[in-house]
Amino acid sequence: MEIQTSEFKRCNVIKTSGRIDGSNAQELAQALKALTSKGKMNIVFDMSDVTFVASAGWWVLIDTQKTCKPAGELVLVKIDQGIKDSLNLVGMGSYFRTYEDVTSAVGDF
């Protein structure tokens, strides 16, 4: 799993592509922990190239959100419609603010 992070003045942007499932969710968890352990609690997750998120992936994002709040927040950008539908169907959509583009998300911090 290739993960890129970029640092901005008030937040960090993290990006990966493809699937997030039981085989690689821990790699994402480690990348997010590398940020939160340094006190970087404002995180934008660019999901524009993410095609699939299994529950293992959602728990990584939920855990990160628990760590970030209330000092900061994890927000999600450009979620694929199928992923969004599944998230909303189980009622977990309310735990994340979502944006349509990275610029708006970064600008809101």
Partner: protein
């Protein structure tokens, strides 16, 4: 009825999703429903690998896809320890973030994504998980 055999490795999840995704498309489902079938099967097979077999091993996970007049039937066979998803309680979802617990979400997703989820286990045939997705009327 196409059946494909996979070994117990989380690295096979993508290939498993590709296989059921292909048959969901053959059954005439749209992209959103194909995603739902893939997610349900991904969660089911992840549970077999992590909770049933409990480790990466050469043991089988056989998946059969059958197109129906009104949808798709996916049957998953394995020889792991019996694990009945129907006994797992639904996770509490509409709670505060702090109270959200990482338990049972995969099975909850399976039930939500599919129209029927049925589990059987027998000493000679192993575990059989049957899931059906029907076209919206």
């Amino acid at each position: 009825m196409p059946t494909k055999r996979f070994t117990c490795s989380l690295k096979n999840l993508e290939e498993i999703c590709d296989f059921v995704g292909h048959w969901a498309a053959q059954a005439g489902f749209n992209e959103s429903d194909i995603y739902a079938v893939q997610l349900a099967v991904d969660e089911a097979t992840t549970n077999i690998m992590e909770h049933g077999y409990g480790r990466e091993c050469p043991s089988r996970i056989d998946i059969t896809c059958e197109t129906l007049e009104d949808g798709l039937k996916v049957v998953i066979y394995d020889d792991a320890d019996p694990f009945n998803p129907e006994t797992v309680p639904e996770p509490e979802i509409n709670v505060s973030l702090d109270d959200l617990k990482p338990r049972g979400l995969g099975i909850f997703l399976m039930r939500k994504m599919m129209d029927e989820v049925q589990y059987e286990s027998s000493p000679d045939k192993g575990n059989t998980l049957t899931m059906i997705k029907r076209h919206a009327r």
